[in-house]
Amino acid sequence: MNPIPLQPGCRIADHDVSRRAFLSQSLAVGSGALLGTSGALHALDEDSLNLTLKKTGRSVILLWLAGGSSQLETWDPKPGRPTGGPYATIPTSIPGIHISELMPKMAQRMHKISVVRSLNTKDGGHGTGAELMLRGRKNEAAIDYPDMGAVFAKELGRANSRVPGYVSFYSQSEGRGNTRKTSAFLGAEFAPMNLDEGMMPPNITRLDDISGLDHRERAELREILSARFASKYDSDSVRSHAAAYARVQGLMSSEKLFDIEQEPQAIRDKYGPTRFAQQALMARRMVEEGVPFVRVARAWWDSHGQNFETHAEMVPELDHVMATLLDDLEQRGMLDSTLVVAMGEFGRTPKINASLGRDHFASAWSTAMFGCGIQHGAVFGKTDEDGNTVVEDEVGAGEIFATVLRAMGVNPHSEYQVGARPIPLVNPGIRAISPLLA
């Protein structure tokens, strides 16, 4: 463990909502809004109040490295070892810490990020690994858990927001299905807006043959009918769908949010021409407009053959996108309110196969994060000299999930009430990785 706390990423004083202002706003809209959820059983104790205050105006960008990127070609290289592969390592801005030569830009910014090198998630399946990492635990036979995006859409979303709570870019088709079950018992309101084919939601613009008046009247009619239906058949599901419809209507009036042409060309050029880069820019744009959770999937890292060439192609792109996003958020003063997490469903085997590939590996791999609530310049955990096992500070998917929640000001131990059953946000006994928290 090499935690090198340089400066905390986020402080209460940094936020533009004071406790007094927050309380007065919250009281005006009712206690449901104060709690942030209608179902969460947050006690109104000091800790919960502090966390609730902290999470105001915060967002998460998840860079989902689908298929499983190699920790050895990114954050935890093993140069000179039989497992190390051909890449050299480079020093970073943290003395004594080296990462792959494929990441020179992040190496320069290492003092601004945190890396976990000791993940043992014990699941080397694409679907089950994705389920685990996105939820912090496995679904049970009797219950599906909401994924990270749905939880943050609920916990960080603003009442009456006109922007979606959860946007997911997943342009490649491989592995997309592994990310589709999302909001579970939280309801459709917190399901993602999936942008698979482009960056603009389909059918967002009003049809030419429908006038503005017609459009408004249709919406009013739908609201009347919905209210009538809800008065007879009220349920969480009905309310959730109504809220989702209302949000769609809001989206139709925020067409420009999804239009990357609105960004200055100089900014677009900084991010670069690849789709992943442009979607990362869109994520920043959305966060800036108040979207609580954006997932940008970059598939597909599953390099069973020619691992080193695949990573030669994809890691420089990841390095550039992460560095540009970090700089952009920092320059806009958004780094203190935006958490960026880069992870996939697992890492890759230290053993190099005969196709010069690496296979699935969940026993000792890495993830990186920076921004809101996260320590600057911390490298947590350690693997052995060949990268086969974790030898220090082993953590699992639950700890990562809890850390992200805590960093965003969400109490991981708060609960949702599902029927008669209280469901904690993380499994009992799971704790956030405190050395990573600012």
Binding site: Q172, S173, G272, S355
Partner: protein
């Protein structure tokens, strides 16, 4: 062996923990030198009952050694590595002579000697081919004609090169299937050819690429050029595409034949024509090794088979072209070519 062989029989295998990427044979002997994934050069006398690999001495490379060539007088072995360096070695004493630290800005993929052994060509992912004086190590010329990026804005790779038999021409080939033929004496571009089927870009499912032209060889009369690789691949997670060869009548810019294996999948990594030009042998693999023999008069694959050993990265003939010495994943092997 001038008759067309149809059988490749493994006669000796030296198992290794490392990967042997390139290999050079001392003429008229069973002695080979190979470059390893452990960044060492090893000498191996394959005439022995239990050949022992002897490492070269002195400070060497720091990454995979992927190219190895022998100078004309046989005094020097020149190695190239993913560490971007070229190192000249005394072939007799196995000691280091000189190093060119920044021979290239990115991974060196292949190092070959001109037929008379006076020039060394190196290609690397900086997309430059450099010609070096084989004796002095002086840079003679740079050949620049390959794009740095693929059409999809990712770094390209310059995998291979081959001299023509008269040494006047040099062909280079990259990831996208772009092949350039250069005049060695002045560095001018003589011809550009394309082998696009060897590059697989997956725009939909996985959004990255795989493949490229991995092997080149001129026919002994210099009129034809054969490129080897893999493609098209459905699932680019694996080397699951058909092994592929394309033969050009290069002066006309014509493709004479595109040959893909029906039997074996994987990537062709090395091609050698028989000295009389009647057939050629291509080796490579996915997890396992593959071999294809092509009747070059008919431009037809006549033998396609798995080899007992893993993926083969490089091979050389003996003088009579009835024996090959192979460097591969976890092995160095000897195979005899026979006609059943």
């Amino acid at each position: 062996m001038s008759t067309l062989p149809n059988k490749i029989e493994e006669t000796k295998k030296v198992s290794r923990q490392d990967m042997a990427f390139c290999l050079s044979r001392r003429p008229e002997t069973e002695q080979v030198v190979f470059g390893s994934s452990d960044a060492q050069l090893y000498e191996l006398n394959l005439a022995g009952e239990k050949p022992e690999a002897v490492a070269f001495e002195g400070e060497g490379h720091s990454s995979y050694i992927t190219g190895l060539a022998r100078s004309g007088k046989g005094n020097f072995l020149i190695s190239g590595s993913y560490d971007r360096r070229l190192i000249w070695w005394n072939a007799g004493t196995r000691t280091r002579v000189r190093e060119i630290k920044d021979a290239h800005a990115k991974w060196i993929r292949k190092v070959v000697a001109s037929p008379d052994g006076t020039l060394i060509a190196s290609v690397a992912d900086d997309m430059v081919c450099r010609l070096w004086n084989a004796e002095t190590g002086k840079l003679v010329r740079e050949l620049k004609g390959h794009d740095l990026e693929t059409p999809h804005h990712y770094p390209s790779m310059l995998f291979t090169c081959a001299f023509s038999p008269d040494g006047e021409l040099l062909a280079t080939a990259d990831k996208t299937g772009h092949i350039v033929i250069w005049k060695v004496t002045d560095g001018s571009m003589v011809k550009a050819l394309e082998a696009p089927t060897m590059y697989t870009w997956d725009p939909k499912a996985r959004r990255h690429s795989i493949g490229g032209v991995r092997a080149l060889a001129f026919s002994p009369d210099g009129s034809q050029l054969t490129a080897g690789g893999i493609g098209k691949i459905g699932n680019i997670d694996h080397l699951g595409g058909k092994a592929r060869l394309r033969t050009f009548a290069w002066e006309k810019g014509e493709t004479l034949a595109e040959m893909e294996s029906d039997e074996v999948k994987g990537m062709v990594t090395r091609i050698h024509y028989h000295p009389e030009g009647k057939w050629l042998l291509a080796l490579g693999g996915d997890h396992k090794g593959l071999a294809m023999i092509v009747d070059t008069t008919a431009n037809k694959i006549v033998t396609e088979t798995r080899t007992p050993a893993n993926h083969a990265h490089d091979f050389v003939f003996n003088e009579s072209a009835d024996r090959i010495y192979v460097a591969g994943h976890n092995h160095v092997t000897v195979h005899d070519l026979r006609t059943a």
